[in-house]
Subunit: 102 residues, 2 copies
């Protein structure tokens, strides 16, 4: 499956981030056609050494890289991407890759 | 499910990295008890803007954070972590978090 991994840096106001993420961003993202699985971190994002600079991580799965790219280019994908400006001011890294189970 | 996400920076010798990763690291990691799913990027790891600083991404899934932590502490987990020194000299970020499907 192809993956979109979103890595959100720690925001100034974590409660406001969480409220917007769950009430607005998740429902928006779920309108995207072709989204097969949407997993979101629950609790802290850590490293083996302890704290990480991240507040939240999300993994969105699609059938293929073509499906993921079509999803991002769709009006729903564009609206979801535009919504990042409303809550991810601290920064977000988006990673896109095809993957296979080994 | 709990996730271990490994983000490998671009190595000096990509072919040597890939050979070691697939012939040695994957089989080692697959000896870890409790590993439920092991997905590895196939092809480039990109960003929406184009190239990323990453060569490879892996997502390992476990039933729970407790299972993931027990796996990392096990002899097989420790051997897998120790193997990173053999091919991930360019750097790897490991992220650990519990997750839920939304």
């Amino acid at each position: 499956m192809a993956k979109l991994v979103a890595l959100y840096k720690k925001p100034a106001d974590a409660a406001a981030f969480d409220a917007h993420y769950h009430a607005t961003h998740v429902p928006l993202a779920k309108t995207i056609a072709g989204l097969r699985r949407y997993e979101v971190s629950s609790g802290p994002v850590m490293t083996p050494q302890g704290e990480s600079p991240l507040h939240l991580a999300a993994i969105l799965s699609f059938d293929s890289l073509a499906a993921l790219q079509a999803a991002m280019a769709s009006p729903q994908g564009q609206a979801t991407a535009a919504d990042l400006a409303n809550f991810a001011q601290a920064g977000v890294d988006l990673l896109i890759f095809d993957s296979k189970e080994v």
